[in-house]
Symmetry: C2
Subunit: 225 residues, 2 copies
DNA sequence: TAGATTGTTAATCGATTAACAATC
DNA sequence: TAGATTGTTAATCGATTAACAATC
């Protein structure tokens, strides 16, 4: 992937975007819309740093990494900044997504309010279970046999996998075959896909196990007293 | 929190557990149960490294960090290793959890199969909406007014927040008041709690936005050709 | 102008990887 | 014993923070 490397690395071998910096951009953007609502027209790296709980250096570094320039002494204009962040984050165009699996998790995601206001639209959900189908719903639930055609016809690039573990790899293969480029995977297994496909895993058990571990550590630390 | 620092840092100022190392421990453990099912009695750092896609150095480093010792030349005994990892991860005792919010996400989590086999038990779910209550279900859905007493009586330490943004902070405060020590939060807002409480945030929008960003980057990289 | 804030370079910090002596 | 693998120390890599010259 030579061409990707060209834009993802600076000459100086300092790497550009990593996952954390993108997450921070999203947070800056959210903070900015709040600040805007409060009447701010300009912001300084200080303000954003406070809002997102990072250092001002981090803010300026992130911006400079993505080519966002402010005005020395004058900070950043809120409107321009929001616009630029939206553009970087791909928020200027509606993002169509399909969900595979209309079980509990898939249904929760279908109903999830957070997506719409972020410019994410669930185009359809797919399932093998006939009882779950609902062609006429606002977000239709369709048989998985129609999935690939649907994706191709609507040129959808993003898919969410919310099926049981044992079905996940097969679903992934089908999605990729149909042209999907990015995956958010809720099945707690490692999926194999080609390098050029973006796969982000959300593993709820692992997240909860993490909490358990740190609670235990702190507990033991206290007992030690 | 002097006492916590004492055990969380080595003399040499090398820090012990960070979130990533704990996640890796969970993955080692999962890999090991698979290897065990395949008949393995011993494993080498090589095997685990392959299974989890890290370097053998990483595996040995992680183990040494948590005081897990193998046998030079003989690797690690699978059963012992699983046992030790379970103990570190707090898997030897059943972990009771309450869910707050019986909306789509809360319900999905209640029905989530992954928890049980990891020794996590959902003791109850709480909601303000009377229509959602169900005292007699296997996992009862109770009014939020009974939450604090329930938590205290059953000495529950872990809570999952799955309520709308605007209710999340209030729910957190109540949970902490009742004695909850660790939180998994699905509401996409920053929660304020005292330092000694463990709060882990799962933000599904951010995760999907991340996918969108990297898909766009790769797309543009290709067009550039 | 004087003061404040950016943008970038250098320093620091932390986590991962490599190397290798110890030893089973 | 010879060979292989651990456990740990040192080297590397990457990300965050600090510092400061440029400049509005």
């Amino acid at each position: 992937m030579i061409y990707f490397r060209e834009i993802s690395e600076k000459k100086s071998n300092k790497l550009v975007a990593n996952k954390n910096s993108i997450i921070r951009l999203s947070r800056y953007k959210n903070a900015l819309t709040r600040l805007k609502a409060m009447g701010f027209v300009k912001v300084f790296s200080d303000n954003l740093a406070d809002a997102v709980e990072v250092t001002p250096s981090q803010v300026r570094k992130d911006f400079s990494l993505f080519g966002i320039l402010g005005n020395k002494r004058g900070g950043y204009k809120v409107d321009e900044l929001i616009e630029k962040l939206n553009s970087i984050l791909g928020k200027n165009e509606l993002q169509n997504v399909v969900i595979v699996g209309a079980g509990h998790m898939g249904t929760a995601l279908m109903r999830y309010k957070g997506f719409e206001k972020e410019g994410i639209r669930i185009a359809a959900c797919f399932d093998t279970d006939e009882n779950k189908l609902d062609r006429n719903a606002k977000i239709p639930v369709l048989p998985i046999s129609e999935m690939q055609e649907f994706i191709k016809k609507k040129k959808i690039r993003l898919g969410i996998i919310a099926v049981p573990d044992h079905a996940a790899q097969e679903v992934l293969d089908k999605l990729l075959e149909a042209g999907i480029k990015g995956i958010l995977n809720f099945a707690p297994i490692k999926l194999n896909g080609p390098e050029e496909v973006v796969i982000n895993n959300v593993n709820i058990e692992l997240e909860l196990e993490n909490v358990i571990y740190f609670v235990n550590v702190k507990d033991k630390a206290k007992v030690k007293v």
